[in-house]
């Protein structure tokens, strides 16, 4: 392959081409950053409670069982759209109560069913976590996932 190509030509193509593609990638990333902040996510709705909810999410390492917007472990249900699944679009109060009650009911101790540990969240932490999940559900993500099932 490429007998006409010398080593130094191959090297120059590598360095030049990589730099070019990196600059294009960095430019598009910068635009995507702008787009996320201004178009696809609710920056005004990103309240202190939502921020705190993300901290609760991280502190309890939910990502290593669940997935959020398709990323994470694949051991437990997708939570990027859990707000929709609990009917949050139609009845926010019921969704809030439902999600909270479900978390409080853990562990279910059903033999042969994957078991979520008990998390002793304060009411404030629980409320923030749900705010975070509601905010995440509102991200315009090209209509993913295809079904509310997640």
């Amino acid at each position: 392959m490429a007998d006409g190509l010398t080593k130094s030509a191959a090297r120059n193509i590598f360095y030049g081409g990589s730099l070019f593609f990196f600059l294009v990638f960095a430019g598009l990333t910068a635009h995507s950053h702008w787009y996320m902040v201004n178009v696809s996510t609710d920056s005004e709705g990103l309240t202190d409670s939502v921020k705190h909810g993300k901290e609760v999410w991280e502190k309890n390492m939910c990502i290593n069982c669940h997935s959020i917007m398709g990323e994470g472990a694949y051991f437990a249900p997708e939570l990027g759209n859990v707000w929709e699944r609990y009917g949050g679009h139609e009845n926010p109060e019921a969704a809030r109560a439902g999600i909270s009650a479900w978390i409080r009911a853990q562990p279910l101790d059903v033999e042969g069913r994957r078991q979520m540990p008990a998390y002793d969240f304060s009411d404030e932490a629980m409320s923030s976590l749900i705010d975070f999940l509601e905010w995440t559900d509102g991200i315009d993500d090209q209509d993913w996932p295809p079904h509310p099932a997640g």
Partner: protein
């Protein structure tokens, strides 16, 4: 082994293999939970097993890269390592940081972003240790001969350090968080780590086939060029569904499809050099790994990656067991086999014996590689069924999982076979040196040996 300081690599290889063993242990635990969900539910929840499994992989691969670099740098630069003591010190810091993270996880001490769960101070220690490593190896390189092999290798390692810095940036906006999280995760494994992979592979091929360096180094530049031209914009395949603009769907689909090219080139490269090679290197086991690594990487990273990378396919398959299948075989082929190959090549020379326990090593290769392939097949079937039931029909997640039990049992079985293969390999590396000649290997004893 021509240079005394190449033996610096030995403790790196030993620590790497110890962590590899632990990684398999945590993998087996997690696979057992998939089969029997109540297993250890109170003692160690699944998320702790998984974070341990993935973090151990990352840490031991990095230590493996370091050891490999210390091993080849003196030969390539024709220069002893700048400071062996600095190497031992930075290994101690890195190993301590990794061990502290692992122990901390068992007690719930961690940050909360996938793969970047290390507590802040552990991240700082990792950074310090890695900079010491880069300083040590770069000083060696600066004093010595510059080849395409050691330049591309060091470029890959430096860029890995640069992109690692994004691990310290955690925006409160989840979409923006994900945008830059991939600057670490994707730009490592589908970007600059491929520079490390291609250069280490090039080194093995130069040593074992005897093909002219000019030829191999030209190939190396072509391969790493293909890797970055496709891999940088290929990041777009992670930007489909996280709130990024829709232009990532065509860009990500096209460029991540092209990500197959560097892996295919590596297969052609390795086999062409093998056939062209005049040298009959006595370490047949190392040659097997050097050919197996790009081959399995091509299937695991290339073919299995392509299978779900097009945006209109990924819309349905994203975040299912298909992803898990791809992740396992891609990491195994591209990086695990690479380090195991380097260790197979280097150990006889570090221990100053002729290639030994070769037959056992090759058994380990075949047992572990077929087990990883089988694991990937079971997860792929699970993923296809899951995609259909959950994403096409819209069935509830937990109901779908109940349909996948058989696949998870078979995955656990495959995991046990991987562990058996790993034990064989560890014994072949570190056990008593007993020389064995592979079948038909009379020619190999006429090889010149320690090259």
């Amino acid at each position: 082994m021509k240079y005394e300081t190449q033996k610096v690599a030995l403790p790196f290889f030993m620590v790497a293999m110890a962590l590899f063993t632990l990684q398999i242990v945590f993998g087996l635990l997690a696979a057992t939970v998939y089969a029997w969900p109540n297993f250890m539910a109170e003692v160690m929840p699944f998320n702790i097993m998984r974070v341990s499994h993935t973090n151990l992989l990352i840490v031991w691969l990095l230590i493996g890269f370091m050891g490999s670099t210390y091993y080849l740098m003196p030969e390539e630069a024709e220069q002893e390592i700048h400071s062996p003591n600095l190497a031992y010190l930075q290994l101690a810091i890195f190993a301590f940081a990794g061990a502290a993270a692992l122990v901390g996880y068992q007690f719930g001490i961690h940050e909360g972003r996938e793969f970047l769960e290390q507590p802040f101070w552990v991240k700082i220690l990792i950074t310090i240790s890695f900079l010491m490593f880069l300083f040590n190896t770069s000083m060696t390189l600066l004093k010595g001969r510059k080849t395409a092999i050691n330049l591309v290798l060091m470029l890959g390692l430096w860029l890995a350090a640069v992109f690692w810095l994004f691990a310290f940036y955690n925006p409160t906006n989840l979409a923006v968080d994900k945008l830059y999280w991939w600057w670490v995760v994707h730009l490592w494994v589908e970007g600059v780590w491929e520079l490390i992979m291609a250069s280490l592979l090039g080194y093995l091929l130069i040593k074992m086939t005897g093909v002219d360096r000019e030829v191999i180094e030209k190939w190396l530049y072509i391969i790493v060029g293909l890797a970055l031209f496709s891999g940088l914009l290929g990041t777009g395949h992670h930007y489909y569904w996280i709130g990024a603009p829709s232009y990532w769907q065509p860009i990500g689909s096209i460029f991540s499809t092209l990500e197959v090219a560097p892996f295919f080139a590596m297969v052609v490269f390795a086999f062409t050099m093998f056939w062209k090679g005049s040298r009959n290197h006595p370490n047949k086991a190392a040659m097997l790994w050097a050919l197996g690594c790009p081959t399995v990487a091509f299937f695991g990273a290339g073919v299995w990656g392509f299978m779900h990378t097009l945006s209109f396919v990924n819309y349905y398959s994203h975040g299912t067991q298909v992803t898990a299948a791809h992740g396992h075989l891609a990491f195994y082929g591209a990086y695990v086999m690479l380090i195991l190959g380097i260790i197979t090549y280097a150990m006889p020379q570090i221990r100053r014996v002729q290639p030994y326990n070769q037959v056992l090593n090759m058994w380990g290769f075949w047992v572990m590689t077929s087990a990883m392939c089988f694991m990937t097949f079971t997860l792929t079937f699970a993923g296809v069924v899951q995609t259909h039931l959950q994403r096409v029909i819209g069935m509830n997640y937990m109901e779908v999982q109940d349909q996948l039990g058989l696949f998870y049992f078979m995955r656990l079985g495959a995991g046990v076979a991987v562990a058996v293969g790993a034990i064989m390999l560890l014994y072949a590396f570190f056990g008593p040196a007993r020389e064995q000649v592979p079948a038909g290997g009379t020619q190999m004893t006429t090889g010149t040996g320690s090259v």
